[in-house]
């Protein structure tokens, strides 16, 4: 089945098994390896992408479901000013250790800040509640988000 959607701001069309997971389509067919797979069942958030601006786990989405929609992965986000702010905040707060969860975390942070540019700590924890990190213990990531919101005032 032909599926058409917008991937990282570009119109794409792909003839594919419509039940193939969006995660596998972006990694294998479009070579976007920033989208990670860990649990494969929606628990960990490593595969998180934005679909029409909303955070979703790409392991739970058959590609047919994004037909006609806009998908944004970390690769399509990393050249933006907002990303730079988040990146710097992550460096400053020490929010990265192994880095495996980071792309999904960053997408979750964009989803949060686009809705709520000045979040409280509890908002941040809620927004990241579907993203697991086994290194940092989360506190540094939460600090990074609060820092990014401060540094990026007016951007979101």
């Amino acid at each position: 089945m032909k599926i058409r959607f917008v991937l990282n701001h570009k119109k794409v069309e792909i003839d594919v098994d419509p039940l193939k997971r969006l995660l596998d389509v972006v990694r294998e067919d479009f070579d976007l390896k920033g989208v990670k797979e860990r649990c494969g069942e929606g628990e960990c958030g490593a595969c998180a992408v934005l679909v029409n601006g909303k955070l979703m786990n790409s392991c739970l989405i058959p590609v047919a479901q994004v037909d006609g929609k806009e998908v944004l992965t970390i690769e399509g986000y990393k050249n933006t000013k907002k990303y730079k702010i988040i990146e710097e905040a992550f460096l400053e707060a020490g929010a990265v250790q192994c880095g495996f969860c980071t792309p999904g975390m960053v997408m979750a942070i964009e989803a949060l800040l686009s809705q709520n540019p000045s979040p409280e700590e509890s908002d941040v924890r809620e927004a990241l509640s579907g993203n697991l990190c086994r290194c940092t213990g989360y506190n540094m990531i939460v600090d990074a988000v609060l820092l990014a919101a401060l540094k990026g005032k007016g951007l979101w």
């Binding site: 797979e37 929606g42 739970l60 809620e126």
Partner: protein, 281 residues
């Protein structure tokens, strides 16, 4: 590879459902896990798949004539953001899974899965929600309590789709929800509790109680509620042991990977006791 359908209208979807006996696919957050295979492989479906995400008639929340009508394909996030939705349902949905899953998962999916631990069910039970079931040739409506039949089993016929959920708007001044899980996000309920009540001048004019994950279907006992209705809130304190005893007889949980029957029973009665003692005042 199985046939896959992506209809644009409800009529078309219902025709496909009738002719192909296709599996309805709403948000897919449970189907993708249940039918998932090795990494890199598409999930397995033995029958044609009917995607519903393009069917506009199944989306949206409408408020009319003292009732809220929720399209079955409304996502949990959309319901959470809507101001017309009864609080008890919002409290429950706020504790389901994670933001990313709530953006995808639908209320219709949660209902039709009919999991004993389905978290939208106890609130829908206490709100006397009804479901509207459509087929290519007809439409029927029934109480959600009659629709849910057992674990994974509903009254949905092979040619039907759940179209919408209707909730009568009623006033409650006590709205209490409690979910017990292993952690705050992404956990399935060991026990859930939905309680609403209307107090007027110290008299309990209405009270409704439902438990999740303690029986094959969500539990509600209108006959016990009847005995509480009309009583003074102070007098009810003395009756609590008697009420707990009555519920203890019908709360019959099981041991499974998430919890034990003993824990579930103890905790559900404790939450009920808290609700009656601390919330009804």
């Amino acid at each position: 590879m199985v046939k896959v359908f992506m209809p644009q209208s409800l009529k078309e979807a219902l025709r496909i459902r009738k002719e192909e006996k296709a599996i309805p696919f709403a948000g897919g957050t449970d189907l993708m896990v249940k039918r998932g295979r090795l990494r890199g492989l598409a999930p397995y479906f033995e029958k044609p798949v009917l995607f519903l995400h393009k069917v506009k008639e199944l989306t949206g929340v409408k408020f009319e004539e003292g009732r809220v009508r929720i399209g079955a394909l409304s996502t949990l996030s959309e319901i959470l953001e809507n101001r017309d939705i009864p609080l008890i349902l919002k409290y429950a949905i706020a504790e389901i899974a994670s933001p990313a899953i709530r953006n995808l998962a639908t209320i219709g999916g949660n209902i039709c899965n009919a999991s004993p631990a389905g978290d939208t069910l106890p609130p829908l039970y206490v709100m006397n929600a009804r479901v509207v079931l459509s087929s290519f040739t007809s439409e029927r409506e029934m109480k959600i309590m009659d629709f849910i039949k057992g674990p994974g089993s509903t009254d949905l016929k092979e040619e039907e789709l759940l179209k919408e959920i209707i909730i009568p708007v009623e006033f409650f001044n006590i709205v209490f929800y409690r979910k017990v899980g292993t952690r705050k996000a992404n956990s399935l309920s060991k026990v859930s509790f939905a309680g609403v009540a209307r107090l007027d001048d110290g008299i309990i004019k209405d009270i409704r109680i439902s438990f999740g994950a303690v029986a094959p279907t969500p539990l509600r006992a209108p006959e016990i509620e009847e005995e509480i209705i009309g009583k003074n809130k102070v007098k009810i304190i003395a009756k609590i042991p008697d009420i707990l005893e009555k519920y203890a007889r019908i709360i019959r949980p099981i041991d499974d990977q998430r919890s034990t029957a003993r824990y579930r029973k103890t905790i559900s009665l404790k939450i009920l006791e808290y609700f009656l003692k601390e919330e009804i005042k």
